[in-house]
Amino acid sequence: MTTKEQLDQVTILLAGDSGDGIQLTGSQFTQTTALFGNDLSTFPDFPAEIRAPMGTIAGVSGFQIHFGSSEIYTPGDLSDVLVAFNAAALKKNLDRLKDRGIIICNTSGFDKRNLRLAQYEENPLLDDKLRENYQLIEIDVTKMTRDALSESGLGPKDRDRCKNMFVLGFIYWLFGRPMQGTVDFLDNKFKRKPEIAEANIKVLKAGYYYGDTVEAIPSTFEVSPAKMQRGTYRNIMGNQAMAIGLVAACKKAGLPLFFGGYPITPASDILHELAKHKNFNVKTFQAEDEIAGICTTIGAAFGGSLGVTASSGPGIALKGEAMGLAIMLELPLVIINVQRGGPSTGLPTKTEQSDLFQAMYGRNGEAPMPILAAASPKDCFATVYEACKLAIEHMTPVMVLSDGYIANGAEPWRFPEASSLEEISTKFVDEKDAEDFKPYGRDENLVRQWATPGMKGFEHRIGGLEKELESGNVSYDAKNHQTMINIRSEKVNKMANIIAKISPDSGELNGKLAVLGWGSTYGAIKTAVKGLILEGLDVAHIHLRHIHPMPKNLEEVLKSYDHVLIPELNDGQLIKMIREKFLIDAKGLSKVEGNPFAAGEITEAIKSYYS
């Protein structure tokens, strides 16, 4: 008789060949777990190659999910359960499993060939140490799947493709999750191939009942729903939230949305998602290159759309000159950088925060641009929404920083009602003002007006050459250039009057140590700081969305602590800005390994201040 063990939180790492359907298995488990009511956070980790050589360590694709009955902010440091579809998956991920953790492995993935490809001399499943240190559940998933489908009429290849569903069924059983959501998903996904849907569902159930029947493990687990804030929730991924935020902002502003972009990992899903929402007056343009991606949006913005482009570091580098043009033209543009490991092509599918300086300084000339950074998958919505509002209301390009970790990660989102979203006003000229129209005339916030082609009497020319104050005509005058440099800088700085003041996310003001983060390190810092506050430490977490301009009170807030620690997934970029701006002796915690921080790494760094 299997018993049930209550757990507060669990981390599962699914790993196998990139052709094994790991990401699909992970996203299905995520969806089911979200609907079940757990708080959760996920982290897909896949190779840059679509189908790297089968069975090799380079070809291992992973998906980590951390879920619980309490609040979850990260995909988890070490996992409780490792599902290894083959030997390479075990070899690559064993050090990410807790002691006494559960290994579920597909024994057919440990045959001679797989062992050789994974560079194992002996079969690790026969190693006593492995059995002593971990709880090993061996299942011949490949054989079970084939047996379950022996009468299906499907060929061996199609049958083997269902084996991820066997594993999914098995872990559904292990954690007491319902299968219906996935059954519905499969029915819908294979609407036109009912025999494939049927086979997948059959194998899913076979996996579930296999666990039940053979009592593969003495105890299954129960993770009760989390006590979350009341409301209606959905599951959301970062890139999806980004796209929805763009659409929502344009709808609110009453503007058409024009997206120009070039496919690049890990930003392409923003284009994919937007392309689904044409009925919101969204036009998506897959350009011939990154430069055309942004230049088409500049053209569209000149014509009265909100122009949006999204890319990753290498693509953003190519857009640099055009960003300068947009700054000169003072047109509303949102530029999204879903950062990845650099430099050059770097680590396309890995995460990093190393494009902060690129965002701040990566253009020719004095070219200030507001920069906002998203902290988590769901925060991509709020961040990009605010970026759109700033771009439209202040007639400026705005940069939004995300990264591969939150772009592909998912979490539950208590989504807002449309009516609760902030209003966004546009800067269109009034038809009556044609007579006195000055293309570069400005309001009290130094914002110019928007006169678009088709508006009678507002014909004017703009361009990348320096503008004369107010008239916008070309000017090479020395004093005028200084004036315009000052205006463009001041215009961005003035936004500090509008953006929210900052306060600690966890902990109190006036303490011993503030941990200052930005972007996707939010979850790891929050988990670490909350844990240490519970242990009685005097520590606070401050998280920065507004990189440029910074909140007006940031200096005052930071100076209320004895120490400031800045963890970043780069070689120390925000820290240089903070030290330069405020002359604070902040210390950095830097990691550039292509992976997010584990909360434990932050905890350790904080503890060093208290020993």
Binding site: A34, L35, G181, P225, R230, G231, T232, Y233, R234, N235, I236, I244, V247, A248, K251, K252, P256, F258, G260, H277, K278, N279, F280, N281, K283, F285, A287, E288, D289, I291, A292, C295, T296, T297, I298, G299, A300, F302, G303, G304, E321, A322, L325, R414, F415, P416, E417, A418, T452, P453, G454, M455, K456, F458, E459, R461, G463, G464, N473, V474
Partner: protein
């Protein structure tokens, strides 16, 4: 009847004059630059196309010619090097109703912006591309361009250029262009007519304009523009008409298989002359190959006029149709539904 119709047309057209298209900016091209003639013909052509001034946009890249929008009293953007085609592609996709004109040069369009040029042509938005070809880099003070002839001695090629030059119209036709034509600054009448033709064509119209740079490449096209030689060196393409040229129109072009040859009409008569068909793509390819050096022995004359014209759907129309279709199918975007997605759960 005729008179009634013309009055109706008159009523429809805004009563604009060439001077209405002159902006208040001082023109800063060098004295004698071919750009002046092109500007003048543009300003004189636009009142005849019947489009309101506020619905016209000029987008340019970088180079001497790209200052053009500043001198036109319409909407305009002087963008960055090579990107006018991309900027205009976005503008046209977002605002299909605007009359969109691209001003570019041989360096801007064929070198730094080569990629955008071929892609705009294959997508075929309804824009008019004026490619000012002076076979030199003027604004950077005289380096060879991708259309400069082999062996050209410039500041950057003191021993002569070793770059094989582009044949611009062949490139544009190869890229899937739907309107390919050639004009020159020194033939204002034909230039104006061709400008109007580019407007009339629904699709991307590419008009290459031979333009003299009196400072860095003076006389590059003199064989085609000098009184003594032009009639012998140029052939004007007219749809349905034979290819004939010469002082007394005494020469014709004939196809020997797929090879064009020059015949003397006075001796051989008009039989079998090449009759220009601007809808024939294969023949248009051959026409673009009439690209000989006028100094070379046995060379063919250089064609001017419309090489090729094709009706093909425009990018912005197809894009708008997809938006309209999505709205018909799903209704105007419902923000609440977008925010909630398909799978939600309630926490009490």
């Amino acid at each position: 009847m005729m008179e009634v119709k013309s009055q109706e047309e008159k009523a429809k057209k805004p009563e604009l004059k060439a001077r209405d298209f002159v902006s208040d900016q001082d023109i800063k091209w060098c004295p004698g630059c071919g750009d002046y003639a092109i500007l003048k013909q543009m300003q004189s052509a636009l009142p005849e196309i019947g489009v309101k001034k506020e619905d016209i946009v000029f987008v340019s890249g970088i180079g001497c010619s790209s200052r053009f929008p500043y001198y036109m009293n319409t909407f305009g953007m002087h963008s960055i090097h090579g990107r006018a085609t991309a900027v205009a592609a976005g503008l046209k996709a977002a605002r299909p109703e605007l009359s969109t004109w691209i001003i570019t040069g041989d360096g801007d369009a064929l070198s730094i912006g080569g990629n955008h040029l071929i892609h705009i042509l294959r997508r075929n938005p309804d824009v008019n591309i004026m490619l000012f070809n002076n076979q030199i880099y003027g604004l950077t003070k005289g380096q060879y361009s991708p259309t400069s002839e082999l062996g050209k001695v410039t500041k950057s090629t003191p021993s002569g250029s070793i770059d094989h030059p582009f044949n611009p119209l062949s490139v544009c036709l190869g890229a899937g262009g739907t309107f390919i034509a050639r004009a020159m600054d020194r033939d204002p009448k034909a230039l104006k007519e061709l400008i109007i033709e580019t407007h009339k064509h629904k699709g991307s119209s590419l008009l290459e304009i031979y333009q003299n740079c009196p400072i860095f490449n003076d006389g590059a096209f003199s064989a085609f523009t000098d009184k003594e030689t032009k009639k012998k060196e140029t052939v004007y393409l007219k749809h349905g008409q034979p290819l004939i040229f010469g002082d007394k129109l005494q020469y014709g072009v004939k196809l020997d298989g797929v090879h064009p040859i020059v015949v003397n009409i006075e001796e051989e008569g008009q039989d079998g002359l090449w009759i220009h068909d601007e809808t024939d793509k294969i023949k248009a390819y051959i026409l673009t190959q009439l690209f000989d050096d006028p100094e070379a022995g046995g060379h063919l004359p250089r064609p001017f006029g419309i090489f090729y014209k094709e009706e093909r759907f425009c990018y912005e129309d197809a894009m708008q149709a997809q938006v309209d279709h999505a709205r018909e199918q799903k209704g105007d975007g419902d923000l609440e539904a977008l925010l909630s997605g398909n799978n939600t759960w309630i926490v009490d």
